[in-house]
Protein backbone atom coordinates (compact mmCIF):
# COMPACT_ATOMS: atom_id res chain seq x y z
CA UNK A 1 0.00 0.00 0.00
CA UNK A 2 1.36 3.40 -0.99
CA UNK A 3 1.07 6.13 1.63
CA UNK A 4 1.01 9.73 0.46
CA UNK A 5 1.40 12.29 3.23
CA UNK A 6 0.11 15.83 2.86
CA UNK A 7 3.01 17.79 4.38
CA UNK A 8 1.22 21.08 3.85
CA UNK A 9 -2.10 21.59 2.11
CA UNK A 10 -2.49 24.24 -0.58
CA UNK A 11 -5.22 26.86 -0.74
CA UNK A 12 -8.04 24.41 -1.50
CA UNK A 13 -7.19 20.80 -2.35
CA UNK A 14 -9.94 18.25 -2.85
CA UNK A 15 -10.25 14.72 -4.16
CA UNK A 16 -12.43 14.66 -7.25
CA UNK A 17 -13.80 12.11 -9.70
CA UNK A 18 -16.77 12.12 -12.06
CA UNK A 19 -19.29 13.03 -9.35
CA UNK A 20 -22.75 11.60 -8.66
CA UNK A 21 -24.83 11.43 -11.83
CA UNK A 22 -28.27 9.96 -11.05
CA UNK A 23 -28.97 11.62 -7.68
CA UNK A 24 -29.98 15.05 -9.00
CA UNK A 25 -33.71 14.35 -8.59
CA UNK A 26 -32.89 14.21 -4.85
CA UNK A 27 -31.22 17.62 -5.00
CA UNK A 28 -27.66 16.27 -4.89
CA UNK A 29 -25.15 18.43 -6.81
CA UNK A 30 -23.33 16.59 -9.60
CA UNK A 31 -19.86 17.37 -8.20
CA UNK A 32 -16.65 15.93 -9.62
CA UNK A 33 -13.64 17.62 -11.20
CA UNK A 34 -14.21 21.19 -12.41
CA UNK A 35 -11.89 20.65 -15.40
CA UNK A 36 -12.93 17.13 -16.34
CA UNK A 37 -10.66 17.08 -19.38
CA UNK A 38 -7.49 17.70 -17.36
CA UNK A 39 -8.60 15.21 -14.69
CA UNK A 40 -9.20 12.51 -17.32
CA UNK A 41 -5.84 13.19 -19.00
CA UNK A 42 -4.00 12.92 -15.67
CA UNK A 43 -5.57 9.52 -15.02
CA UNK A 44 -4.77 8.35 -18.55
CA UNK A 45 -1.14 9.33 -18.12
CA UNK A 46 -0.80 6.98 -15.13
CA UNK A 47 -3.00 4.23 -16.62
CA UNK A 48 -5.82 4.67 -14.09
CA UNK A 49 -9.42 3.98 -15.11
CA UNK A 50 -11.44 7.14 -15.79
CA UNK A 51 -13.17 8.25 -12.62
CA UNK A 52 -10.27 7.33 -10.32
CA UNK A 53 -9.84 10.11 -7.73
CA UNK A 54 -7.41 12.92 -8.53
CA UNK A 55 -6.24 15.82 -6.37
CA UNK A 56 -7.74 19.10 -7.60
CA UNK A 57 -5.80 22.10 -6.29
CA UNK A 58 -6.78 25.74 -6.67
CA UNK A 59 -4.25 28.57 -7.29
CA UNK A 60 -1.71 27.18 -4.79
CA UNK A 61 -1.04 23.47 -4.59
CA UNK A 62 0.08 21.24 -1.70
CA UNK A 63 3.39 19.68 -0.71
CA UNK A 64 3.25 15.88 -0.47
CA UNK A 65 5.62 13.08 0.54
CA UNK A 66 5.45 9.66 -1.12
CA UNK A 67 6.26 6.90 1.38
CA UNK A 68 6.89 4.38 -1.38
CA UNK A 69 7.54 4.21 -5.13
CA UNK A 70 4.80 5.83 -7.20
CA UNK A 71 3.84 6.95 -10.69
CA UNK A 72 2.16 10.33 -10.96
CA UNK A 73 1.05 12.89 -13.55
CA UNK A 74 0.16 16.57 -13.28
CA UNK A 75 -2.18 18.39 -15.66
CA UNK A 76 -4.27 21.55 -15.74
CA UNK A 77 -3.08 24.99 -14.66
CA UNK A 78 0.49 26.07 -15.40
CA UNK A 79 2.58 25.52 -12.27
CA UNK A 80 6.28 24.88 -11.64
CA UNK A 81 6.07 21.56 -9.78
CA UNK A 82 9.21 20.15 -8.20
CA UNK A 83 10.18 16.70 -6.97
CA UNK A 84 12.87 16.89 -4.26
CA UNK A 85 13.50 20.44 -5.44
CA UNK A 86 14.00 19.49 -9.11
CA UNK A 87 11.58 20.91 -11.64
CA UNK A 88 9.45 18.14 -13.25
CA UNK A 89 7.42 18.08 -16.45
CA UNK A 90 3.64 18.34 -16.57
CA UNK A 91 1.54 16.20 -18.93
CA UNK A 92 3.73 13.13 -18.57
CA UNK A 93 4.05 10.08 -16.33
CA UNK A 94 6.64 10.80 -13.63
CA UNK A 95 8.31 8.04 -11.60
CA UNK A 96 8.63 8.94 -7.93
CA UNK A 97 11.23 7.36 -5.63
CA UNK A 98 10.28 6.40 -2.05
CA UNK A 99 10.51 9.35 0.31
CA UNK A 100 10.39 11.97 -2.44
CA UNK A 101 8.62 15.27 -1.83
CA UNK A 102 6.39 16.78 -4.51
CA UNK A 103 5.71 20.50 -4.34
CA UNK A 104 3.01 21.67 -6.74
CA UNK A 105 3.39 25.33 -5.77
CA UNK A 106 1.60 28.38 -7.11
CA UNK A 107 -0.10 28.51 -10.47
CA UNK A 108 1.16 31.12 -12.92
CA UNK A 109 -1.60 30.61 -15.46
CA UNK A 110 -4.91 28.82 -15.13
CA UNK A 111 -6.61 28.11 -11.81
CA UNK A 112 -6.65 24.36 -11.07
CA UNK A 113 -4.10 21.55 -11.29
CA UNK A 114 -4.87 17.84 -11.29
CA UNK A 115 -2.60 15.25 -9.72
CA UNK A 116 -3.15 11.61 -10.62
CA UNK A 117 -1.39 8.82 -8.71
CA UNK A 118 -1.33 5.32 -10.21
CA UNK A 119 -3.27 2.71 -8.24
CA UNK A 120 -6.50 1.98 -6.45
CA UNK A 121 -7.43 4.79 -4.02
CA UNK A 122 -8.78 3.77 -0.62
CA UNK A 123 -11.03 6.73 0.15
CA UNK A 124 -14.50 7.04 1.59
CA UNK A 125 -17.23 7.63 -0.96
CA UNK A 126 -20.76 8.93 -0.63
CA UNK A 127 -23.31 7.92 -3.29
CA UNK A 128 -20.54 6.48 -5.44
CA UNK A 129 -18.19 9.46 -5.42
CA UNK A 130 -15.40 10.92 -3.28
CA UNK A 131 -16.16 14.49 -4.45
CA UNK A 132 -16.83 16.60 -1.33
CA UNK A 133 -20.38 17.97 -1.52
CA UNK A 134 -20.83 21.68 -0.67
CA UNK A 135 -22.50 20.72 2.63
CA UNK A 136 -21.72 18.01 5.20
CA UNK A 137 -18.54 17.00 3.40
CA UNK A 138 -16.67 16.45 6.69
CA UNK A 139 -19.24 13.72 7.52
CA UNK A 140 -19.98 12.36 4.05
CA UNK A 141 -16.49 12.39 2.50
CA UNK A 142 -14.05 12.90 5.40
CA UNK A 143 -10.92 12.12 3.30
CA UNK A 144 -11.69 14.46 0.42
CA UNK A 145 -10.81 17.93 1.65
CA UNK A 146 -7.04 17.57 2.08
CA UNK A 147 -5.52 18.72 5.37
CA UNK A 148 -1.89 19.06 6.40
CA UNK A 149 -0.77 15.85 8.09
CA UNK A 150 -3.38 13.69 6.35
CA UNK A 151 -2.31 10.42 4.68
CA UNK A 152 -3.83 8.96 1.54
CA UNK A 153 -3.73 5.21 0.97
CA UNK A 154 -3.40 3.92 -2.57
CA UNK A 155 -3.14 0.24 -3.48
CA UNK A 156 -0.17 -0.04 -5.86
CA UNK A 157 -0.64 -1.27 -9.41
CA UNK A 158 2.06 -2.76 -11.70
CA UNK A 159 4.33 -0.09 -13.16
CA UNK A 160 3.55 1.23 -16.65
CA UNK A 161 5.78 2.69 -19.38
CA UNK A 162 6.13 6.48 -19.36
CA UNK A 163 3.36 8.24 -21.29
CA UNK A 164 3.52 11.79 -22.57
CA UNK A 165 1.23 14.32 -24.20
CA UNK A 166 2.96 16.43 -26.88
CA UNK A 167 3.50 20.08 -25.95
CA UNK A 168 1.31 21.33 -28.76
CA UNK A 169 -1.66 19.54 -27.17
CA UNK A 170 -1.24 21.14 -23.74
CA UNK A 171 -3.92 23.72 -22.96
CA UNK A 172 -2.96 27.33 -23.63
CA UNK A 173 -4.12 29.85 -21.06
CA UNK A 174 -4.98 33.45 -21.72
CA UNK A 175 -6.51 36.29 -19.74
CA UNK A 176 -9.44 36.52 -22.16
CA UNK A 177 -11.50 33.40 -22.64
CA UNK A 178 -13.83 32.87 -25.59
CA UNK A 179 -16.76 30.72 -24.51
CA UNK A 180 -19.37 29.14 -26.79
CA UNK A 181 -22.93 29.11 -25.52
CA UNK A 182 -26.33 27.84 -26.59
CA UNK A 183 -29.46 29.92 -25.99
CA UNK A 184 -30.86 28.91 -22.59
CA UNK A 185 -34.50 27.96 -21.92
CA UNK A 186 -35.40 31.61 -21.06
CA UNK A 187 -33.25 33.24 -23.78
CA UNK A 188 -36.34 34.73 -25.43
CA UNK A 189 -37.45 36.39 -22.17
CA UNK A 190 -34.42 38.72 -22.27
CA UNK A 191 -34.56 41.97 -24.21
CA UNK A 192 -32.68 42.41 -27.46
CA UNK A 193 -30.31 44.81 -25.79
CA UNK A 194 -29.60 42.38 -22.92
CA UNK A 195 -28.88 39.59 -25.38
CA UNK A 196 -26.68 41.64 -27.65
CA UNK A 197 -24.80 43.07 -24.65
CA UNK A 198 -24.22 39.51 -23.43
CA UNK A 199 -22.75 38.45 -26.79
CA UNK A 200 -20.68 41.56 -27.48
CA UNK A 201 -19.22 42.77 -24.17
CA UNK A 202 -16.48 41.11 -22.13
CA UNK A 203 -17.28 40.11 -18.54
CA UNK A 204 -14.88 40.00 -15.60
CA UNK A 205 -14.76 36.95 -13.34
CA UNK A 206 -15.39 38.14 -9.79
CA UNK A 207 -13.52 37.06 -6.65
CA UNK A 208 -16.49 35.30 -5.08
CA UNK A 209 -16.42 32.51 -7.63
CA UNK A 210 -16.04 28.91 -6.53
CA UNK A 211 -16.90 25.32 -7.43
CA UNK A 212 -20.62 26.13 -7.20
CA UNK A 213 -20.55 29.02 -9.62
CA UNK A 214 -18.56 31.74 -11.34
CA UNK A 215 -19.91 35.23 -10.77
CA UNK A 216 -19.49 37.88 -13.42
CA UNK A 217 -19.00 41.47 -12.31
CA UNK A 218 -20.76 43.47 -15.05
CA UNK A 219 -24.58 43.57 -15.00
CA UNK A 220 -26.69 43.04 -18.11
CA UNK A 221 -29.09 45.85 -19.01
CA UNK A 222 -32.87 45.51 -18.69
CA UNK A 223 -33.02 42.53 -16.35
CA UNK A 224 -35.06 44.11 -13.51
CA UNK A 225 -38.45 43.10 -14.84
CA UNK A 226 -37.81 39.59 -16.05
CA UNK A 227 -40.67 37.24 -15.19
CA UNK A 228 -40.00 34.88 -12.30
CA UNK A 229 -39.51 31.22 -13.05
CA UNK A 230 -41.07 28.29 -11.24
CA UNK A 231 -38.05 26.36 -9.94
CA UNK A 232 -36.67 24.25 -12.76
CA UNK A 233 -33.46 22.30 -13.35
CA UNK A 234 -30.08 23.98 -13.65
CA UNK A 235 -26.92 22.23 -14.83
CA UNK A 236 -23.19 22.81 -14.75
CA UNK A 237 -22.74 25.46 -17.47
CA UNK A 238 -26.16 27.09 -16.98
CA UNK A 239 -25.86 30.89 -17.02
CA UNK A 240 -28.58 32.30 -14.79
CA UNK A 241 -29.34 35.97 -14.26
CA UNK A 242 -30.58 37.13 -10.83
CA UNK A 243 -32.35 40.52 -10.50
CA UNK A 244 -28.98 42.29 -10.03
CA UNK A 245 -28.32 41.48 -13.71
CA UNK A 246 -24.88 40.04 -12.91
CA UNK A 247 -24.76 36.64 -14.62
CA UNK A 248 -23.75 33.53 -12.66
CA UNK A 249 -22.26 30.55 -14.50
CA UNK A 250 -23.16 27.45 -12.52
CA UNK A 251 -20.36 24.91 -12.16
CA UNK A 252 -19.73 21.38 -10.84
CA UNK A 253 -21.13 21.82 -7.29
CA UNK A 254 -24.16 23.92 -8.27
CA UNK A 255 -27.59 23.23 -6.84
CA UNK A 256 -29.90 21.17 -9.06
CA UNK A 257 -32.85 23.57 -9.41
CA UNK A 258 -33.18 27.32 -9.53
CA UNK A 259 -35.68 30.10 -10.04
CA UNK A 260 -33.61 32.67 -11.97
CA UNK A 261 -34.05 32.90 -15.75
CA UNK A 262 -31.55 30.74 -17.63
CA UNK A 263 -30.04 32.98 -20.29
CA UNK A 264 -27.62 30.53 -21.85
CA UNK A 265 -25.95 27.15 -21.54
CA UNK A 266 -22.18 26.82 -21.99
CA UNK A 267 -20.99 24.33 -24.59
CA UNK A 268 -19.75 21.25 -22.69
CA UNK A 269 -16.41 21.47 -24.49
CA UNK A 270 -15.79 24.92 -22.99
CA UNK A 271 -16.49 24.04 -19.34
CA UNK A 272 -12.82 23.08 -18.79
CA UNK A 273 -11.81 26.56 -20.04
CA UNK A 274 -14.12 28.18 -17.49
CA UNK A 275 -12.78 25.88 -14.76
CA UNK A 276 -9.33 27.38 -15.43
CA UNK A 277 -10.49 31.04 -15.29
CA UNK A 278 -8.98 33.12 -12.50
CA UNK A 279 -10.68 36.02 -10.73
CA UNK A 280 -10.05 39.12 -12.83
CA UNK A 281 -9.93 37.20 -16.13
CA UNK A 282 -12.24 38.28 -18.94
CA UNK A 283 -14.86 36.06 -20.52
CA UNK A 284 -16.35 36.75 -23.94
CA UNK A 285 -19.43 34.78 -25.00
CA UNK A 286 -20.45 33.84 -28.52
CA UNK A 287 -23.32 31.77 -29.82
CA UNK A 288 -22.33 28.23 -30.75
CA UNK A 289 -22.25 27.85 -34.51
Amino acid sequence: MLEVEIISAGLFDTLQDEGRPGYQSQGVPLGGAMDRQSAALANQLVGNPLGTPVVESTLLGPRLRFHGPAQIALTGAMARPTLNGQLISRYTTVNVAPGAVLNIGGMQQGCRTYLAIRGDWQVQQWLGSCSPPPYQSEVLTPDSRLQSGQRLNIQNAPEIEIRQIPLKEHPVFSKTHKISVFPGPEWAAFSNSARSHFLSQPFTLSKDSNRMGLRLAEPLPETEHLPGLLSSAVLPGTIQVPPSGQPIILMADAQTTGGYPRLAQVSTNDLPILAQCRPGDQVQFRLHA
Binding site: P21, G22, Y23, Q24, S25, Q26, G27, V28, P29, W126, L127, P133, Y135, Q136, V139, L140, F182, G184, P185, L230, S231, S232, A233, L235, G237, T238, Q255, T256, T257, G258, R262, Q265, V266, S267, T268, H288
Partner: protein, 209 residues
Protein backbone atom coordinates in the same frame (compact mmCIF):
# COMPACT_ATOMS: atom_id res chain seq x y z
CA UNK B 1 -45.76 18.98 -23.46
CA UNK B 2 -43.09 21.00 -25.17
CA UNK B 3 -39.63 19.53 -25.83
CA UNK B 4 -36.61 21.75 -26.42
CA UNK B 5 -32.83 21.45 -26.26
CA UNK B 6 -31.11 22.71 -23.11
CA UNK B 7 -27.49 23.11 -24.21
CA UNK B 8 -25.68 20.27 -25.97
CA UNK B 9 -26.40 17.47 -23.52
CA UNK B 10 -29.82 18.02 -22.03
CA UNK B 11 -33.42 18.01 -23.16
CA UNK B 12 -36.05 20.11 -21.40
CA UNK B 13 -39.72 19.17 -21.32
CA UNK B 14 -42.01 21.99 -20.21
CA UNK B 15 -45.67 21.75 -19.34
CA UNK B 16 -48.01 24.63 -18.61
CA UNK B 17 -46.10 26.83 -16.15
CA UNK B 18 -48.12 26.66 -12.95
CA UNK B 19 -48.08 24.89 -9.60
CA UNK B 20 -50.68 22.18 -9.92
CA UNK B 21 -50.73 18.72 -8.31
CA UNK B 22 -51.93 16.94 -11.46
CA UNK B 23 -49.35 18.62 -13.68
CA UNK B 24 -46.66 17.78 -11.15
CA UNK B 25 -47.85 14.15 -11.02
CA UNK B 26 -47.58 14.09 -14.83
CA UNK B 27 -43.97 15.34 -14.62
CA UNK B 28 -43.09 12.61 -12.13
CA UNK B 29 -44.87 9.94 -14.18
CA UNK B 30 -42.87 10.94 -17.27
CA UNK B 31 -39.66 10.85 -15.29
CA UNK B 32 -40.43 7.27 -14.23
CA UNK B 33 -41.49 6.28 -17.73
CA UNK B 34 -38.27 7.65 -19.25
CA UNK B 35 -36.21 5.96 -16.55
CA UNK B 36 -37.99 2.64 -17.12
CA UNK B 37 -37.53 2.90 -20.89
CA UNK B 38 -33.77 2.70 -20.15
CA UNK B 39 -32.90 4.62 -23.31
CA UNK B 40 -29.21 4.17 -24.05
CA UNK B 41 -27.34 7.44 -23.57
CA UNK B 42 -29.70 8.92 -20.96
CA UNK B 43 -27.63 9.83 -17.89
CA UNK B 44 -30.10 11.27 -15.39
CA UNK B 45 -33.14 13.50 -15.13
CA UNK B 46 -34.32 16.32 -12.86
CA UNK B 47 -38.07 16.76 -12.30
CA UNK B 48 -39.39 20.11 -11.03
CA UNK B 49 -42.82 21.79 -10.63
CA UNK B 50 -43.87 21.56 -14.27
CA UNK B 51 -40.70 20.66 -16.13
CA UNK B 52 -38.45 17.67 -16.59
CA UNK B 53 -34.81 17.95 -17.67
CA UNK B 54 -33.21 14.85 -19.18
CA UNK B 55 -29.41 14.83 -19.34
CA UNK B 56 -27.87 12.61 -22.02
CA UNK B 57 -24.51 11.73 -23.51
CA UNK B 58 -24.44 13.20 -27.04
CA UNK B 59 -21.84 10.59 -28.07
CA UNK B 60 -24.48 7.91 -27.43
CA UNK B 61 -27.71 9.58 -28.52
CA UNK B 62 -28.59 12.71 -30.48
CA UNK B 63 -31.15 15.23 -29.22
CA UNK B 64 -33.56 14.55 -32.10
CA UNK B 65 -33.42 10.79 -31.57
CA UNK B 66 -34.03 11.16 -27.86
CA UNK B 67 -36.93 13.57 -28.42
CA UNK B 68 -38.54 11.09 -30.85
CA UNK B 69 -38.05 8.19 -28.44
CA UNK B 70 -39.67 10.15 -25.63
CA UNK B 71 -42.60 11.21 -27.84
CA UNK B 72 -43.07 7.58 -28.87
CA UNK B 73 -43.46 6.44 -25.25
CA UNK B 74 -46.96 5.66 -24.12
CA UNK B 75 -48.42 8.53 -22.08
CA UNK B 76 -47.76 7.36 -18.52
CA UNK B 77 -50.52 7.15 -15.93
CA UNK B 78 -49.83 9.60 -13.06
CA UNK B 79 -49.70 7.99 -9.61
CA UNK B 80 -53.01 8.21 -7.77
CA UNK B 81 -53.69 9.04 -4.16
CA UNK B 82 -53.77 5.32 -3.44
CA UNK B 83 -50.35 4.49 -4.87
CA UNK B 84 -48.60 7.50 -3.36
CA UNK B 85 -46.86 7.41 0.00
CA UNK B 86 -48.14 9.53 2.87
CA UNK B 87 -45.76 10.42 5.70
CA UNK B 88 -46.63 12.01 9.02
CA UNK B 89 -43.99 14.43 10.27
CA UNK B 90 -44.08 15.34 13.98
CA UNK B 91 -43.16 18.98 14.58
CA UNK B 92 -42.28 20.85 17.72
CA UNK B 93 -43.55 24.34 16.85
CA UNK B 94 -40.89 26.32 18.69
CA UNK B 95 -39.21 27.96 15.66
CA UNK B 96 -37.34 31.22 16.08
CA UNK B 97 -39.47 32.94 13.42
CA UNK B 98 -42.87 31.89 14.76
CA UNK B 99 -43.43 35.38 16.28
CA UNK B 100 -42.36 37.10 13.03
CA UNK B 101 -44.67 34.86 10.97
CA UNK B 102 -47.55 35.58 13.36
CA UNK B 103 -46.87 39.30 13.09
CA UNK B 104 -46.53 39.28 9.28
CA UNK B 105 -49.67 37.22 8.75
CA UNK B 106 -51.74 38.94 11.46
CA UNK B 107 -52.47 35.58 13.07
CA UNK B 108 -51.78 34.33 16.55
CA UNK B 109 -48.98 31.78 16.95
CA UNK B 110 -51.60 29.14 17.79
CA UNK B 111 -53.44 29.95 14.56
CA UNK B 112 -50.23 29.67 12.53
CA UNK B 113 -49.63 26.21 14.00
CA UNK B 114 -53.25 25.21 13.53
CA UNK B 115 -53.19 26.23 9.86
CA UNK B 116 -49.86 24.53 9.18
CA UNK B 117 -50.78 21.14 10.67
CA UNK B 118 -53.19 18.35 9.78
CA UNK B 119 -53.40 19.03 6.05
CA UNK B 120 -51.77 17.21 3.17
CA UNK B 121 -48.82 18.80 1.37
CA UNK B 122 -47.39 17.44 -1.84
CA UNK B 123 -43.63 17.07 -2.35
CA UNK B 124 -43.47 18.99 -5.64
CA UNK B 125 -39.74 18.70 -6.00
CA UNK B 126 -36.51 18.12 -4.11
CA UNK B 127 -33.95 20.86 -4.61
CA UNK B 128 -31.94 23.70 -3.06
CA UNK B 129 -30.17 21.17 -0.79
CA UNK B 130 -29.91 17.37 -1.06
CA UNK B 131 -33.21 16.02 0.25
CA UNK B 132 -34.89 19.45 0.74
CA UNK B 133 -38.62 19.05 -0.14
CA UNK B 134 -40.63 21.91 -1.63
CA UNK B 135 -44.09 21.36 -0.11
CA UNK B 136 -47.34 22.95 -1.31
CA UNK B 137 -50.04 24.16 -1.11
CA UNK B 138 -49.52 26.32 1.94
CA UNK B 139 -52.76 28.03 3.11
CA UNK B 140 -52.74 31.52 1.66
CA UNK B 141 -53.05 33.09 5.13
CA UNK B 142 -49.55 31.71 5.89
CA UNK B 143 -47.78 33.09 2.82
CA UNK B 144 -44.93 35.33 3.88
CA UNK B 145 -41.65 36.42 2.32
CA UNK B 146 -38.25 34.93 3.02
CA UNK B 147 -36.19 36.58 5.76
CA UNK B 148 -34.57 39.89 4.80
CA UNK B 149 -31.17 38.53 5.80
CA UNK B 150 -30.70 34.78 5.43
CA UNK B 151 -29.39 32.94 8.50
CA UNK B 152 -25.81 31.65 8.48
CA UNK B 153 -27.04 28.42 9.97
CA UNK B 154 -30.43 26.71 10.12
CA UNK B 155 -30.45 23.40 12.04
CA UNK B 156 -31.26 19.98 10.56
CA UNK B 157 -34.98 19.23 10.80
CA UNK B 158 -36.03 22.90 10.85
CA UNK B 159 -39.49 23.41 9.32
CA UNK B 160 -39.80 26.67 7.41
CA UNK B 161 -42.04 28.82 5.23
CA UNK B 162 -41.19 30.84 2.11
CA UNK B 163 -43.83 32.38 -0.11
CA UNK B 164 -46.40 29.76 -1.04
CA UNK B 165 -44.21 26.88 0.15
CA UNK B 166 -43.17 25.06 3.27
CA UNK B 167 -40.11 22.83 3.60
CA UNK B 168 -37.80 20.92 5.93
CA UNK B 169 -34.04 21.47 6.23
CA UNK B 170 -32.35 18.07 5.69
CA UNK B 171 -29.19 19.15 7.55
CA UNK B 172 -27.63 22.26 9.00
CA UNK B 173 -27.18 24.87 6.27
CA UNK B 174 -27.52 28.59 5.66
CA UNK B 175 -30.99 29.67 4.56
CA UNK B 176 -33.62 32.38 4.36
CA UNK B 177 -36.82 30.48 5.14
CA UNK B 178 -38.97 31.55 8.12
CA UNK B 179 -38.41 28.81 10.71
CA UNK B 180 -41.55 27.89 12.64
CA UNK B 181 -40.68 24.49 14.07
CA UNK B 182 -38.42 21.50 14.35
CA UNK B 183 -38.96 17.82 13.56
CA UNK B 184 -37.00 15.06 15.33
CA UNK B 185 -37.38 12.91 12.20
CA UNK B 186 -34.27 12.44 10.07
CA UNK B 187 -35.17 13.83 6.65
CA UNK B 188 -31.58 13.13 5.68
CA UNK B 189 -29.55 10.28 7.12
CA UNK B 190 -25.93 10.39 6.00
CA UNK B 191 -25.31 6.83 7.20
CA UNK B 192 -28.27 5.23 5.44
CA UNK B 193 -28.08 3.34 2.15
CA UNK B 194 -30.90 5.59 0.95
CA UNK B 195 -30.22 8.86 2.79
CA UNK B 196 -33.45 10.58 1.74
CA UNK B 197 -36.76 10.21 3.60
CA UNK B 198 -38.89 11.98 0.98
CA UNK B 199 -39.26 11.74 -2.79
CA UNK B 200 -41.12 13.85 -5.32
CA UNK B 201 -44.83 12.93 -5.28
CA UNK B 202 -44.99 11.95 -1.59
CA UNK B 203 -47.64 13.45 0.65
CA UNK B 204 -46.56 14.98 3.94
CA UNK B 205 -48.79 15.78 6.94
CA UNK B 206 -47.35 17.77 9.84
CA UNK B 207 -48.49 16.75 13.34
CA UNK B 208 -47.81 18.80 16.48
CA UNK B 209 -45.26 16.82 18.51
Amino acid sequence: MNIQPFGDRALLINWEQRIDPELNATVQAWQQAIEQAAIKGVAYSIPAYCSLTVVFNPLQIAFDTLAKKIQALETPEPATKHTRRTLEIPVDYNGADLPEVAQRTGLSEAEVIELHTNRPYRVYLIGFLPGFPYLSPLPEALHCPRKQTPRQSVPAGAVGLAGAQTGIYPFEAPGGWQIIGQTPLKVFDAEAQDPFLLRPGDTVIFKPA
